[in-house]
């Protein structure tokens, strides 16, 4: 009976305290609250998971995706892919909607800001395939926006961003505010 109770106590230990860094090869981004994390998870549509609004194929890349960790059923929110280019994780994970995959990257845990179970995914392993890098966002953007081809990073050429800045300015306060800022700072 004593062994049995010990087993129950072990299972009942809060799983949130688990360390998922074992085997991780995640590259540091020198972020204050980063922790390497490698784990197995199922790719889900977050809106579907929470509200029951469930289109086919997790919304075909238009919706935020979650990673429900196999070890503890915690839903991790992957916010970033591995590119330092203002790019999210959905384009990397959308091909694996509903599948169990393994991911490796950085968890962000900052109690002061309320950051919990937030993730930067750097590489993905699906089934028996090799690990793939989670760095395809800019390539997919370029394929979807041939009209915006040119020099410079994607965010300087994106048509929707350019349209908003053309009317609201970089500060978002109107073009006059931008002119004043430029005069004072350049």
């Amino acid at each position: 009976m004593r062994k049995f109770l010990s087993l129950i106590a072990l299972v009942a230990t809060p799983l949130a305290a688990q360390d998922f860094s074992e085997g991780s090869e995640a590259q540091s981004w020198n972020l204050y609250a980063e922790v390497p994390a490698r784990f197995e998870a199922t790719v889900v549509d977050v809106l579907c998971e929470l509200s029951g609004d469930c289109p086919e194929n997790c919304g075909d890349g238009a919706r935020q995706l979650g990673l429900i960790r196999t070890a503890d059923d915690v839903m991790v929110l992957p916010m970033k892919n591995s590119q330092p280019a203002f790019t999210g994780a959905v384009a990397e994970l959308a091909p694996f909607c509903g599948q169990v995959i393994e991911v490796d990257g950085l968890m962000i845990e900052d109690e002061e800001l309320g950051a919990r179970n937030i993730y930067l995914v750097q590489r993905i392993n699906a089934g028996d395939a090799d690990w793939i890098k989670a760095n395809t966002w800019t390539k997919k953007w370029a394929e979807a926006h041939p009209e915006a081809a040119g020099k410079g990073p994607w965010f300087r050429r994106d048509p929707r961003i350019k349209e908003i800045i053309a009317t609201e300015g970089y500060l978002g306060l109107g073009l006059e505010a931008d002119e004043t800022y430029a005069e004072e700072n350049f």
Partner: protein, 147 residues
């Protein structure tokens, strides 16, 4: 003990989170959650408002989740705005980058994160937080030097 064991197993078998929505109304700023949570661009006060408007556009268009930063400091991950469920690079959320809004919708919580499905943006106050006066632009290169 015989009575205790079924209770223990019953508790372990429950789902980690049984999400059930609650209707709420929240006033706050539509923010870029990655820069806010990661600190990659600086402290939380520097990555909101006018200082961060252009970067917020970049991150929203890039598919990073946007959040609604309420006046009490709570962050709600935005999953839908009215009929637009495009929470990854959607048009509606992009048009609201750095705006302060009052939103009516359904609140969900799971595993330490808050989520909101906005049924209606009741009020859009545009950008009301002139943080560029204190921080310049964040990151600085988001405002390119004029030719």
């Amino acid at each position: 003990m015989r009575r205790l064991l079924p209770l223990l197993f019953c508790g372990l078998a429950l789902p980690a989170s049984a999400a059930e929505g609650t209707r709420i109304q929240v006033t706050g700023e539509i923010i870029d959650t990655w820069c806010y949570y990661s600190g990659v661009m600086g402290g939380p006060d520097a990555v909101v408002g006018s200082a961060h408007h252009t970067c917020a556009l970049w991150c929203s268009a890039g598919g990073i989740p946007v959040g609604l930063l309420a006046e009490d400091g709570t962050v709600y991950m935005v999953l839908k705005i009215a009929q637009d469920a495009g929470s990854a690079s959607g048009d509606t959320q992009l048009s609201l980058a750095a705006h302060t809004v009052t939103a009516d919708g359904m609140f969900y919580e799971r595993d330490g994160l808050n989520y909101i499905v906005v049924s209606e943006v009741v009020t859009d106050m545009d950008i009301v937080n002139p943080t560029h006066e204190d921080y310049g632009t964040v990151p600085p290169f988001s405002f390119p030097e004029p030719d």
